[in-house]
């Protein structure tokens, strides 16, 4: 019963939602199609996932879930955040394919990697 209702609702809502998004934000809708998970969670002094693979032109969002501040810094100085307190976020858009290693410049044992394809 619940499942039927859900499918039924989807059938009505989904085309409406898609057409709405396409009408209002045609470019954004296209880029969102390419990339799904673009969030890196900082939790207990770890980047999760440690390696994140995204298509070009993806915006990666880091969110700090720790009780201490962290700073996102790429190894080659391409990007660097301000200190992120608990629940604060930082975003960077990757326009070129490549591998981008980064670390926390406050706790340099914390390392991660963005692979842009």
């Amino acid at each position: 019963m619940k499942r039927k209702l859900f499918v039924g609702t989807l059938a009505v809502v989904l085309p409406l939602a898609i057409s709405g998004v396409l009408l209002l934000h045609p470019t954004r809708a296209r880029s969102e199609d390419k990339s799904s998970a673009t969030e890196v969670r900082i939790d207990n002094f770890n980047f999760g996932p440690e390696t994140l693979t995204v298509p070009t032109n993806s915006t990666v969002n880091w969110v700090n879930k720790d009780d201490v501040p962290h700073v996102i810094a790429s190894n080659d100085s391409l990007f660097k955040s301000k200190a992120l307190d608990t629940d604060e976020k930082y975003s960077f858009t990757f326009t070129k394919a490549g591998t981008y290693p980064y670390y926390c410049s406050v706790h340099p044992k914390m390392v991660g990697k963005i692979v842009v394809q």
Binding site: F45, K82, D85, Y103, V106, K109
Partner: protein, 328 residues
Amino acid sequence: MEKKKLFDPNPSGLIEHDHNKDGIDRRGFLKCMAWAGTGALCVMGGGVLKSYGLGSQTGSEMKSHKMGHLSFVQISDSHMGFNKPANPDVIATLKAAVDKINALPEQPEFILHTGDISHLSKPSEFDNVDQILKATNKEIFFVPGEHDVLNDDGAMFRERYGKNSKGQGWYSFDKNGVHFIGLVNVMNLKAGGLGTLGNEQLEWLEADVKHLKRSTPIVVFAHIPLWSVYPQWGWGTDDSAQALSYLKKFGSVAVLNGHIHQTMQKVEGNVTFHTAFSTAFPQPAPGAPEGPGPLKVPAEHLRSVLGITDVNYVQGRHALGLVDAPLV
């Protein structure tokens, strides 16, 4: 003085060969763990470390040291601005540390703060600490922690606390025949690495101690431990061995650090390494499964795992007495 063992600070990962199940590694270095909640006194002389519990021989031992005495206090890791469950009121605990200092029977001549004054390098956080520490009426020497240099490579820190310092904030001074060296190992950290001193600072250090007599007692203070406490969590300094090689000729060297929010000691030759309590929140023992973040202990136990370090040096004895005193 609360004597109950409220919280086990023994970093079990450090004792590798404990054949007698007594917490002492006889094949490795003697590691004197100062028990949180009791306080311990460690006196170093000629490489021999003796430790006493507070309230036993400590009183008479300290009184006999009055002649040619230098007394100072180390505080660390105030983390002003931190407001998470591990300690929602770091102002109150820093004030308690000030009360503790002001109540010491022998008043220290000055205070060393081994960094993480602030939590987020904000001017208001530094202002609050300055205001609270004023009540000690003592000269205070600071070195930065990584939390003090978050967004400006330490410019604000040096403007406030390092006007007479060299490079990124290092300096030295002399008190009562003891040579004090404040080092900075929280900047220019490299991906995957530990704390870093860097070549410029190492060269300065070598020159700074070159002309000192071998009998000059040395006290080095810096934020991140200058010994390898637990590299997996970044609790060490990549080029500390180089720094320590310049200090080998001295008969008595004490290295005072913070960063790990728990007391720990190690003796290696004529060098005593010591880490201090935080005044804000404790952190887990090295390698603990919960990771290195702030450790929440029951509220009524918090002040037994925070504290100050009272340091006494006796001229002629080449001995430095370190007392870790919890806030309660």
